[in-house]
Symmetry: C2
Subunit: 485 residues, 2 copies
């Protein structure tokens, strides 16, 4: 029993410890809490009050009820791989870690669905069903360690979401502990159009601000009969961008259509999985098609033709599965690879209409030139989801701020061409203020009003997703006063 060993007189810790079981089910000493002071967004840190590790829904509900009654701020955390700071305890929260709730509860191949606990790791689902010919589609680059609960909170994407959609397109049902401790079931487990309001869509991607997911029914897909990957090198980034547009215009829907620029290639080639990409090209495309075997060859030919018509330096299909896997390992570890060429980096996550790609890449280059910071681009070109990686050195005074400004400027460019500020990483604490690039005060208020329905005391993950009150709160106050007077 954890509580036998407690070395604290804090009554909250003692009570919380009594709700979970076993050694290691609660952390409360500073040395232990330090591991939980941030997630994948490392620029901002804050210590939680405690970290508890429930093992089932009832334990989660009891912890939440207690926090609710006592007015203790709390939040849920998965693997902590989030890139926008959604799991950072800004208000000394009690962190409810979901890592012990990691069971695969059931697989129903006939109806194409599986039920998992939130701490179940993304890639494990595909690994558990691949021998039967099935897989789970959303594939964030962190899929080997991120949890499906975290994926639901952030509505995670991935390279293959161009064809298959992001997490919200694969979630069929949720069990959720509401901020008052009540347990509800949401979704109709696979019905195309659920009756009533789309609460399933509302909860998915709400970044842990409306409830804590304790059980998830996901859609699983049959493996495509065949897949093939093409790699193309371009001397000019404009040619690469144009090839992206041409491929999609030709009516091909690739499973993935990824792009890397020169700086990104320098990074991945200096890191753990180099594959020999030339360092003097301006753009690389990685294009995967999948489906019925008989249709693949024709699509590959079309893709090769498009690339050739756009002055490609070299283009070819992977010669075998081993080469294909090497190309993907090189791409999927791309963010981390920046560590090989820069002490620090900041990942951004903007989205633009595909047709604006050349214009936006030019503007990002200008931001890089103006700031004096290198910016690498690795991204999901097919759906216009850019990931500018701002390279900087946090040891140089002022450079972190400069990097954040450059990152924000990139998002402004995306918003200004009719795009938006996040494609798959979420808003968290990182992009709260940038929400104003895309939402009017009234639109933000409509959202905070919805948060109030679920989370009236704002004890659950406060300070995330929305701009700090300021102007918004004023408008609301004025409106309330006007209504009263």
């Amino acid at each position: 029993m954890a509580r036998k060993k407690l070395r604290t007189k804090d009554q909250h810790i003692i009570r919380l410890a009594s709700m979970v079981d076993g050694l290691g089910s609660i952390l409360y000493e500073k040395a232990d809490l330090l591991s939980y002071d941030c997630d994948g967004f490392t620029i901002h840190t804050a210590l939680p009050k405690a970290v508890v590790f429930p093992e089932n829904t009832e334990e989660v509900a009891n912890i939440v009820k207690y926090c609710h009654e006592q007015g203790l701020p709390f939040l849920a955390r998965g693997a902590g791989t989030g890139l926008s700071g959604g799991a950072i305890p800004l208000n000394q929260e009690v962190i409810i870690s979901m890592v012990k709730m990691k069971k695969l509860l059931s697989v129903d191949l006939e109806n194409r669905r599986a039920v998992v606990e939130p701490g179940f790791v993304n890639l494990k689902l595909t690994n558990s069903i691949s021998d039967k010919g099935y897989y789970y589609a959303p594939d964030p680059s962190s899929q080997y360690c991120c949890t499906i609960g975290g994926n639901v909170a952030e509505n995670a994407g991935g390279a293959h979401c161009l064809k298959y959609g992001v997490t919200t397109n694969h979630i069929l049902g949720l069990e959720v502990v509401l901020p008052n401790g009540e347990i509800v079931e949401i979704g109709s487990n696979g019905v195309p159009d659920e009756p009533g309001y789309d609460l399933l869509g509302l909860l998915t991607g709400s970044e842990g601000t409306l409830g804590i997911v304790t059980k998830i029914t996901v859609r699983i897909l049959k493996n495509p009969e065949d897949k093939q990957t093409v790699l193309a090198y371009f001397d000019k980034i404009e040619d690469g961008s144009q090839a992206v547009s041409d491929i999609v215009s030709a009516g091909i829907v690739p499973a993935a259509l990824e792009m890397m620029d020169k700086t990104a290639i320098e990074g991945v080639e200096a890191a753990a999985f180099p594959v020999g990409h030339p360092k003097d090209i301006e753009a690389l495309l990685l294009i995967e098609v999948d489906g019925i075997a008989a249709g693949i060859g024709e699509q590959i030919e079309q893709i090769l033709d498009v690339c050739r018509s756009r002055n490609v330096r070299e283009v070819r299909a992977a010669k075998d599965e081993q080469e294909r896997a090497a190309w993907w390992a090189n791409r999927k570890t791309g963010f981390g690879a920046m560590g090989a060429i820069s002490p620090d980096y900041l990942v951004q996550d903007g989205v633009i209409p595909r047709s604006k790609l050349p214009e936006v890449l030019q503007k990002i280059k200008k931001i890089s030139d103006d700031s004096g910071l290198r910016i690498a681009n690795i991204f999901h070109a097919g759906d216009g989801n850019l990931h500018p990686l701002v390279l900087f050195d946090a040891r140089i005074p002022g450079e972190t701020d400069k990097a954040m400004e450059a990152g924000s400027a990139c998002l402004k460019v995306c918003a200004d061409v009719g795009g938006t500020i996040t494609g798959e990483h979420g808003v968290g604490i990182e992009k709260r203020e940038e929400m104003r690039f895309v939402f009017k005060d009234e639109e933000i208020m409509a959202q905070t009003d919805i948060r109030e329905v679920f989370n009236p005391d704002n004890l659950l993950n406060a300070g995330k997703l929305f701009p700090t009150p300021g102007r918004c709160a004023e408008v609301k106050k004025e409106m309330k006063e006007a209504a009263i007077s």
Copy 2:
């Protein structure tokens, strides 16, 4: 000017008339209002206070502001083809008809999207872009006359939604007039994971209870390179059901996978588009595959093999486009065709896990036997979306009630096997009470709380989508009192 000809002293009518322009922009006399006393759900009727026909967003906003200030109930109406009564003016509403807002505002082929006004007819969109090789995917059977605004309200489906998803999967952005007259933009026009809460998903399918849509950005798709349709006749309905499961299990995702039973076949063969289906079979499957031409043949062969392995009486692919079109016309007018074999019919719309198909069809047959009413089944078998059509004669006293009871019993069967009460027709007034089959009081309250955020006075389309207060209101009152005390 309409107001010159007004023959009323009702100040509300006079004011409303001043907000719209031209002859025929307002109706207020009983003879005119009679056409608006119901929609496609004809069992319940009620007269509106007036019908106004705005021509742009500002006029809609002015009308809504006026209703809001004056406490006048109001609702929006498209083509009036809804099947669950969502546009019926239960509270003597001012109906805001969207039929004059019917422009195709823009088409952006490069980024695959189009912007339409809400009164734009569904099929016209495909017709407007088909010469360039594009189409709009959601295809409700009423697509030749229903409006895209109505499709958004109901999250409409259609035969081809098995592969391509329902309306919510094709809506990229909305302009909405909120119930207080404020105009907001929702959605990020094609971003996979919009920042903030998914208001676009929330509004889509909210059955006209959260706001009035005045502009819609939709996704458009490239025409598939090829398509082919297979027709299969089965002597036993179990064999047909099993073939459905087998096709999906084989990893084929047909564009459409439709089923009709014996009674349904009797109807369609007696109506406007007979194609010579045998009347002694128990089940017919209509299966369409589309995609890259090279892949189609292989899938058709697989489908033919599956059907043969399940004792099909006859199975073959359409010999040409003309035959394919005839099969689809026969299927798509199936509901109306029931008029040829029954004075009245009630369409139901339940959803079940695909694996429960044989069990549920058995239970529906028992409901038919017990009630003495014939029930025809025409449905989207591939995604488990059933449409039991209860045949009755409203002239026989008590038979309408008996039909409604039988319909409700069918939905109960669906809910009990883990399905739900509507797949694409919405809840409206028809299935308000059946919401209790799938939602607990707390879950319904979470939804009515959301309605309150947008629609606090409940002037917009009140009395739809949720059960009549009763138990729910009591629970809420108890909870509020508990919170105060």
